[in-house]
Amino acid sequence: MSAETATEAGAPVEEHAPRWRVLLSAVMANRLALFGLVVLGLLVMAAVLGERLAPYPPNAADVPERLRPPSLRHPFGTDELGRDVFSRVLVAARVSLQVGFIAVGISLAAGVLLGLIAGFYGRWIDDAIMRVTDMLFAFPAILLAIAILAVLGPGIANAMIAIGIVYTPIFARITRGSVLSVRERVFVTAARSLGASDLRLVTLHVLPNVLAPIIVQTSISLAFAILSEAALSFLGLGVQPPDPSWGRMLAEGRGFVQQAWWMGVFPGAAIFVTVLAFNLLGDALRDALDPRQRSAIESRGLTA
């Protein structure tokens, strides 16, 4: 399955078919992953079109229409100010995806860089970086995010930074682990003996071969980042009113659980479906990109 011949273009990537086609066929073959992809498509649409798609302006109060149950005019009902819950849920998709992607972008960039350095150079640099990640792992994720926001102050930009920091160590650890196994491979040694610089070795030979677990982790982290944003906004530390955010709406709906169940149920369902979609996609990617794991599960499944 591996062709360890260094070509001029760089290190061999261990698939015969183009990577995107492998991924696409894996996703299409998996009904759950397809569901995830469809949900994701709808979310992106809601995020891009937002207000233009929403039947009402998301922040427009209409007090006589307050606390109306779901109906044809208001499919998700109205909140305590008469705002249309459906429009707010729709528009809030943007902030969730934004925070998710930017936060994970931060974790991805910082974590992969740290992991590459630690894995590639080893020795004390590796020790130092890994002890710092150990340290960050010693805090439960949400508590660490809260502590960081206590320093930075609440708000959406700071929430992105906090979530980004919290999910950096996992990327560092995963990247380092993969780099360690790739570092000593023949194609790296060959390129090194040809006089390739460290930068060239890492970017052209090591990185392409450690991408699979990083891609899988990115999808899973997106799920957790969106969940964290919702949690922080729920606690009043993320998105600030009056802007709609699923977590924030859930917090507001909490006070009206008895009178207006729809205020909390729909935003929560939006969080759930979004997180589920990213998780399902992550699982499908894992199946497609980490064949070792798949075959392990398959063979064990057969013996049972």
Partner: protein, 314 residues
């Protein structure tokens, strides 16, 4: 084994030292004067000077850190900027509520995960296995604060069986305590149980595929004996490990659930501390949770190494 214990304890101490630096830095990274900020509109010059003197903010940072570390090691985590109470006393007062919630949530999680995980592994590919997979996938994606609201809606609003939130001391009213505990424990337990289910399943599946299982089967043992004597016994070690780690995660995971159910534990305290900018209380909470987290990790690792000698040589 002895050298492994020494190595692992030393590693935990290094991490703990790093954690203490982070926690110490928390108050110093705040822009401006944290004591003034925390007092806000209730500014009182005398109280301000007293807190400032006690905090020793005029000393050089390394000296301050040294003092913080020495005091923390002796169990003194400073006083609240708000109430003036010792942080350690406040934390200890909150600990039982959090521990009882985390413990009962873990119980709920195990009651779900152990049977579901074992049966879905034994009958892998069956409908039950499918249900278990869907359950764990859904559980992992479920926002606990949403589930809390749904449970309150159903059991408190519609059915009226349980109180929506609050806490009573188990010493004063055990039944009342239990009725307040049920919903938060289920909320945290279901989410945690869905993760545990996956681990139990894969651990049992792994054990089912091992040589000793094949040997036990080919000896002609009854399938029930194979599963209980050989498969489950070997699958137990990783399950215990993950359960220990889950307990550690639960301590952090209960934060939001505590807030929703007005459960007077460490999570609620942490949020109150952030909202009132009471940095010593926040520092203390974060430090205590991290220490418990590290301690559980250490114990789990040592138990694991004791059970499986291969670990020690890694």
């Amino acid at each position: 084994m002895a050298s492994y214990v020494v190595r692992r304890v030393a590693q935990a101490l290094v991490v703990l030292l790093g954690v203490s630096v982070v926690v110490f830095a928390l108050v110093h990274l705040v822009p401006g004067d944290p004591i003034r900020v925390s007092m806000g509109t209730r500014f009182n010059p005398d109280a301000y000077e007293a807190l400032r003197a006690r905090a020793g903010f005029d000393l050089p940072l390394p000296v301050q850190y040294g003092r913080y570390l020495a005091n923390a090691a002796a169990g003194d985590l400073g006083v609240s900027f708000r109430s003036g109470d010792p942080v350690t006393t406040t934390l200890l007062g909150r600990l039982p509520a959090t521990l009882s919630l985390a413990g009962s949530a873990l119980l709920v999680a195990l009651l779900i995960a152990v049977p579901l995980g074992i049966f879905s592994a034994i009958r892998s590919g069956s409908k039950l296995d499918y249900v278990a997979t869907v359950f764990s996938q859904a559980g992992i994606s479920l926002p606990d604060f949403w589930m809390a609201i749904l449970l309150i809606l159903l059991f408190s609003g519609v059915l009226g069986w349980l109180p929506p939130s609050g806490y009573v001391s188990p010493l004063a009213d055990p039944i009342g305590w239990l009725s307040h505990l049920v919903l938060p424990a289920i909320t945290v337990g279901v989410v945690s149980g869905s993760i545990l289910t996956r681990f139990v399943r894969s651990s049992v599946l792994e054990s089912l595929g091992e040589d000793y299982t094949r040997t036990a089967r080919s000896k002609g043992l009854h399938e029930r004996t194979v599963v209980t004597r050989h498969v489950l016994r070997n699958a137990l070690v990783p399950i215990i490990t993950v359960t220990g780690l889950q307990l550690a995660y639960l301590l952090g995971g209960v934060i939001i659930v505590e807030v929703i159910f007005a459960w007077p534990g460490l999570g609620q305290l942490a949020l109150l501390a952030v909202q009132s900018r009471d940095y010593p209380v926040l520092q203390g909470t974060v430090l205590l949770v991290a220490v418990v987290f590290l301690l559980i990790n250490l114990i789990v690792d040592l138990l694991y190494a004791a059970a499986d000698p291969r670990i020690r040589y890694k």
